[in-house]
């Protein structure tokens, strides 16, 4: 048994006599053998009922609430509700299929009856307009009827407190709706009745038009009001697959823990509420059917669901999507094919077909660590400064790798060479940022670059995969161009190119990280704060590019535009984490802080 309505509102007046009907509560059957027994009960924690509850009586069979005593003015004043010209009497009703020993209100299914007690007498017929006669003053809650249940009365249309106000009026009701709806009015009891079981998946809500006809000798008046009747969902639909229940998944370069690789969808015409969070999520349960330990150790299925509207009729339904997710990183040499079966079970569906079986055909391909068979040749001027970037080395497909790491190292191919020549190879080093799959070649010792004996440098770059130690190597050839100078010494502390604020200074000065030996000027063109601000850089290919790479992070003066965490004065926008994403005019940096300001700056002097 359940109440289709969780709130009833009516007004009571001084002078209304004992036995006066006030309103009628209704209960709907869950099973046809149930017979409702109605009781008043008391929700508030003090088990003692409010003292005014004795003024009312709820008929155990009909659910009609009557006055148990005539309401006096003293009753009104006895209610210690300050500030109220209309005082509120709150009762709760309960329905049981039998007669209980002890009445314990369960708040979830005890509709609240709110009676506005007015310190005045019931308006006479002349002062009662048709609306008041036909329908309750304030809109009460809309009925909610569980689908697949039995027909029955859902609401008393007649305003019971006004039954005898206009004795020579005859009041009748009927119900209309635009599209066919299984509702009617019981002319004898003036109750609105649902005449057939409802199906939420067909219609979630019926908007009815209640027509109250008031006949007097001379005039017929019709008063209409609309009423929404909602249909409550229960799990009466099995899950189904729309299209395919099988998907092929290939795992190759990206084999990282947490990666998702394939999705299958299961549909359910029923609802899956997200509130309350703790209860609603347990409805669908999924189980991996394979006993294979490798599969259990490696994969999991992540299920999420969302509500959508059906194409036909816009009825709410649920889509569950199931994604194959890696539980761990896979080694590069993992190479196998498996089929994963996942049983989805709609745990609250009573029928037998409450499950759907999903199939993930998984192919894990090995990853080969190899260089493209191309000789990598780089040209580098002997004037390059320390930390100048020479180039990037990367095994094949490295940009798509995830879930494992590859490290790079330089090796000198020729063994039997003089110590002098051996030291030439100190000129270049390789480095790698955290999580980066490529290596960056950079000048490690600029003095060596300028030694005449150091001509062309041939290195072996060896790439090694972390777990399997699979290796690959390739030869790189660095051609040193420009004039060698014996014993030339670089000034011990190279300046940061970023300190220069004007093109002239910038392009005339050496700077740390400068690939050509000289700093490079970038001229901004836009007004205001722009990502294309003017600045002086060691290498415009990599600085500024919004990314503090592995070489730049070796020394904060190489490319403060990308790496600084210091204060920036002037109009600017910070990069994510660090650096200057956008600046006003020219951006330049000293060790303590950076500045972005309009270009035409003379030396700032004291006055």
């Amino acid at each position: 048994l359940y109440f289709p309505q969780n709130e009833y509102i009516e007004t009571v007046y001084v002078g209304q006599t004992a036995g006066t009907p006030i309103l009628q509560v209704h209960a709907m059957m869950d099973h046809d053998y149930e017979r409702p027994h109605f009781y008043l009960c008391y929700l508030s924690s003090i088990r003692r009922p409010p003292y005014y509850s004795s003024w009312f009586h709820l008929d155990i069979n009909t659910g009609v609430l009557y006055l148990n005593k005539t309401l006096e003015e003293s009753d009104f004043t006895s209610l210690n509700q300050r500030l109220r010209s209309v005082k509120k009497l709150v009762l709760h009703a309960m329905v049981l299929p039998n007669v209980p020993k002890k009445l314990n209100c369960v708040s979830k299914n005890s509709p609240r009856i709110t009676l506005d007690f007015v310190n005045a007498t019931l308006p006479q017929c002349a002062q009662t307009d048709m609306k008041e006669l036909c329908f309750p003053h304030r809109d009460t809650a809309n009925p909610h009827i569980m689908e697949n249940r039995f027909p029955g009365a859902i609401r008393q249309l007649r305003r019971l407190t006004r039954l005898n106000v206009c004795p020579n009026y005859t009041i009748s009701y009927n119900v209309e709706s635009d599209s066919p709806a299984p509702f009617a009015v019981n002319e004898n009891s003036t109750e609105l009745v649902v005449t057939a079981p409802l199906d939420r998946e067909e219609s979630e809500c019926y908007r009815l038009l209640l027509v109250c006809t008031v006949r007097t000798e001379m005039v017929i008046t019709k008063v209409e009001t609309s009423l929404d009747v909602f249909v409550m969902d229960e799990d009466d639909n099995a899950p189904y697959v729309n299209g395919t229940d099988i998907t092929d998944v290939v795992i190759s370069f990206n084999r990282t823990k947490g990666g998702s690789y394939g999705t299958l969808f299961v549909f359910d015409r029923d609802l899956t509420p997200i509130y309350p969070i703790d209860k609603s999520h347990s409805k669908y349960v999924g189980t991996l059917l394979n006993g294979d330990s490798w599969i259990n150790k490696t994969f999991e299925i992540k299920g999420t669901f969302s509500e959508k509207k059906s194409a036909q009729g816009g009825i709410r339904e649920t889509v569950h999507d199931y994604q194959l997710v890696l539980k761990r990183n896979l080694y590069v040499n993992e190479n196998r094919s498996v089929q994963l079966d996942y049983l989805v079970n709609d745990t609250t569906y009573p029928g037998l077909e409450g499950t759907v079986l999903l199939h993930f055909n998984i192919t894990v391909l090995p990853v080969h660590i190899r260089f493209a068979n191309v000789t990598h040749t780089y040209t580098l001027t002997r004037r390059a400064s320390v930390y100048a970037q020479v180039g990037k080395v990367c095994v094949e497909n490295c940009q798509q790798f995830d879930g494992f790491s590859v490290t790079y190292r330089l090796e000198v191919p020729e063994r039997n060479i003089s110590a002098d020549l051996q030291s030439c190879y100190d000129a270049i080093s390789i480095t790698q940022g955290p999580g980066e799959m490529w290596g960056l070649l950079y000048v490690n010792d600029s003095e060596t670059l300028r030694r005449p004996e150091c001509q062309d440098l041939q290195y072996m770059v060896v790439a090694q995969e972390e777990h399997t130690e699979q290796e690959a190597s390739t030869q790189i050839h660095i051609i040193l161009d420009g004039e060698a100078r014996k014993g030339s010494r670089e000034s011990p502390q190279l300046l940061s190119c970023a300190e220069n604020r004007r093109r002239g200074d910038c392009e005339s000065r050496r700077g740390i990280g400068a690939t050509t030996g000289r700093c490079q000027w970038r001229q901004g063109t836009e007004k205001g704060i722009s990502e294309h601000y003017s600045t002086c850089s060691p290498d415009l290919r990599t600085c500024p590019d919004g990314y503090c790479d592995a070489v730049e992070s070796k020394d904060s003066s190489i490319c403060p535009q990308d790496c600084t965490k210091e204060t920036v004065i002037g109009g600017h926008e910070r990069g994510v984490g660090n650096g200057i994403k956008a600046g006003h005019g020219t951006c330049y940096c000293y060790s303590e802080r950076c500045f972005c300001e309009k270009e035409d700056i003379e030396e700032a002097l004291c006055d």
């Binding site: 704060i529 204060t567 004291c606």
Partner: protein, 102 residues
Amino acid sequence: ARRPRPCSVRELELTVSELGLGYDSDETVLLRYCSGQCTAHRHNYDITMEHMMKAGFKGRRDKVSKGPCCRPTAFEKNFSFLDNKSRYHTIHNVSAKNCGCV
């Protein structure tokens, strides 16, 4: 002639765009800046520096300040505003809270 005003906080209402920092915002800000004379705060050092500047600094070309400067001694913490593209920015140390001869 009127006695030159001593170093003190002055106020000027302008839009954020008019600050010249490159931000494009029509919001207004009450900019407080320092201006005024500091002659009354000079030390022997300043008199010596002025003399050295006139007498030529024994061949050196160092530039020195001829006297105390009227400068902010404290800034208003920060000033936040919404620019004309509905993005928030916060500028630090743009408006003087107190001024002094330093």
